[in-house]
């Protein structure tokens, strides 16, 4: 933690928002380093978009403080905040050309014509859209529209870049490319960035850190690696990736009745045709091809387990031996180390 706001790109303290009599965000804290890219990840209704809209200034806060690069912006309107947003559906103005859309923030600032043109061309080159500068938003593809929205945000030279579900309107193929493009651009410009997404793959692959949200609170805020390998709460463990979840304890490789909740990732299970040390016998019930791996469901005496296996796939009904390499243990929803 830095002091005197010297290094924090964005800081949310004790944020609270009540909408329609319901507490949407409750006492939310979040500190984002300068130049860091983070995701707010969660199911719809978890409050991630509300949080983003409070950062942007479209929603006032009911309590708490928002600081951008050391400056308290809580009381400022969206026009006065040093943040720029890329909207989910891009929100390009249909009555203006691409160049005019991108130039708008500069025009509002009262920048000279020559300087504006230069900056607009630089911004459009950055997103490879110079050839479309005189097109209308309605004439270009969704991916191109998104790049225009990005250029319009970046030209404001914001301290914080806000992206609301930036990839959700793109088709699957394009999504991966745009994801990488955004990440590269963000790294190059060193701009503090907050992404809102409900797609865990997107969040894990693009972010330095991910804040998993649930019911208006942050369940865990850490690196993608930590999030996956040491989920702090049972909620995070089940939300991120796949999980075999059992009410009970793991004793000598067997699930037994107990006070804890045990979680095992499908890839942390071994599938053997012969008995090996620590493995227990079971029967293959179901095999689901999942592309580059198979999901194998094995019924053991203690539990039914889902296993991800990529080679030596047994047949349905075969007798196998399943070993457990690693497990997570939760008490009252919290990770027990």
């Amino acid at each position: 933690m830095s002091k005197e706001g010297s290094a924090m790109g964005l800081e949310l303290k004790g944020l609270k928002k009540i909408l329609g009599g319901r507490v949407i965000i409750d006492n939310l804290d979040l500190s984002v380093n300068q130049g860091e890219m983070i995701s707010l990840l969660g199911p719809s209704g978890c409050g991630k978009t509300t949080t983003l809209r409070m950062i942007a200034g479209f929603l006032t806060v009911d309590a708490g403080k928002i600081t951008v690069a050391g400056e308290d912006v809580t009381g400022l309107g969206p026009d006065k905040r040093p943040s720029a947003m890329v909207f989910q559906n891009y929100a390009l103005w249909p009555h203006m050309t691409v160049a005019k859309n991108v130039a708008y923030p500069l025009k509002i600032k009262g920048l000279g014509k020559k300087e504006t043109t230069q900056k607009v061309e630089a911004a459009l080159s950055l997103v490879n859209l110079m050839h479309h500068k005189d097109s209308r938003p309605g004439q270009i593809s969704g991916g191109e529209q998104q790049r225009v929205a990005l250029a319009r945000a970046l030209i404001q030279e914001p301290n914080v870049l806000l992206l609301d579900e930036p990839l959700s309107n793109l088709d699957a193929k394009l999504r991966e490319k745009v994801r990488e493009d955004i990440r590269q651009l963000q790294r190059r410009l060193g701009i503090t960035t907050v992404i809102v997404t409900h797609d865990q793959e997107e969040a894990l692959s693009i972010s330095d850190r991910v804040a998993v949200m649930n019911n208006g609170r942050i369940e865990q805020f850490s690196t993608p690696h930590e999030l996956y390998n040491a989920p702090a709460t049972e909620y995070v463990a089940t939300f991120i990736g796949s999980l075999n979840r059992f009410e009970g304890d793991l004793v000598n490789g067997v699930i037994q009745p107990g006070t804890h909740v045990t979680g095992i990732r499908p890839e942390d299970l071994t599938l053997n045709s012969q008995a090996v040390e620590g493995s227990h016998p079971g029967v293959v019930e179901l095999i689901i091809p999942r592309g580059h791996f198979h999901e194998v469901v094995v019924k053991r005496d203690d539990a039914t387990l889902r296993i991800f296996a990529s080679e030596n796939i047994p047949a349905v009904g075969a007798n196998v031996h399943v070993g457990i390499k690693k497990s997570l243990r939760y008490l009252n929803g919290k990770l027990v180390v």
Partner: protein, 274 residues
């Protein structure tokens, strides 16, 4: 196969015949009107006019009463539209953008003036006008014509304002624009097609208004439609034909202009209660 083809052919002939008759029914009177405007004389049982002339046109333009009526119409209608915009557009914005108590009642209430026989409403207003000394005044005519424009100038722009996506405004706010700048550069611009349609419809409503204008304006102030009454009685029918062609010109021009790209959808959109 042959039978089916035949019946198809027959039904097609029937449809074409129907369309032809309909065209005659609709366009026939206009054609008759057009011929009359240039006819020296044309009476039953003559099949053709006895000759063609421009006399009636010069008569209309040289007659001071008729010229005054044309001038009045061309002055009053734009003023009515302007005042209607000043009064109704803010109300349309409120109705389209804000959800206040009684919004629907307000919007439907605007139709009340259209749901009674207008002449009764005008008669009642006339008694008020006598008290306020508005009879036979310019202001009196403007006010009476305003009534007919309100529906257009509130409903259509309200729908146009409501149709502007909120996030387009938010994006402009985010880009640093003040609320007023956002309204000026984004909201108003995007609602403009709807507002243009409302202007056209209001202009036509005002330009064609005769009942109220006659009741309130005559005999001091005549506009083109009210002048028609005396024309029919006091002039040869050819003059009336010329005059009604003149009266139709602005309507045809404006509707043609508006229809080109904005009309249909905006009008239909305009009269939906959301």
């Amino acid at each position: 196969m042959v039978k089916a083809f035949k019946s198809l052919n027959l039904s097609r002939i029937g449809v074409n015949l129907f369309i032809g008759l309909l065209a005659v029914f609709i366009l026939g009177p206009l054609f008759w009107l057009g011929l009359h405007a240039f006819a020296v004389d044309w009476h039953y049982p003559n099949l053709y006019p006895s000759g063609f002339t421009m006399r009636w046109w010069s008569k209309v333009f040289l007659d001071s009463a008729l010229a005054t009526a044309i001038k009045n119409s061309l002055i009053i209608s734009p003023i009515v539209v302007l005042i209607s915009m000043v009064i109704c557009l803010p109300a349309a914005y409120a109705a389209g953008r804000m959800n206040f108590f009684g919004r629907k009642a307000f919007m439907i209430g605007l139709f009340s003036a259209n749901s009674f026989p207008k002449i009764g409403l005008f008669a009642a207003i006339a008694t008020l006008y006598y008290a306020l000394n508005l009879m036979e005044t310019f202001a009196g005519v403007v006010i009476i014509q305003l009534l007919g424009t309100i529906i257009y100038m509130t409903w259509i722009p309200a729908a146009a304002f409501a149709a502007v996506p909120k996030n387009l405004e938010e994006a402009a706010r985010d880009a640093g624009a003040s609320k007023f700048t956002v309204f000026r550069t984004i909201t108003l611009r995007l609602a403009m097609p709807g507002i243009l349609v409302a202007i056209v419809m209001s202009f036509l409503a005002s330009f064609d208004e005769a009942q109220g204008t006659y009741l309130v304006g005559a005999p001091g102030i005549f506009t083109m439609p009210t002048e028609m009454y005396s024309l029919v009685q006091n002039y040869p029918i050819q003059v009336a034909a010329v005059f009604s062609i003149l009266l139709a010109i602005p309507s045809v021009l404006l509707l043609g202009l508006a229809r080109k790209h904005i009309m249909g959808g905006q009008l239909a959109e305009g009269f939906q209660l959301k």
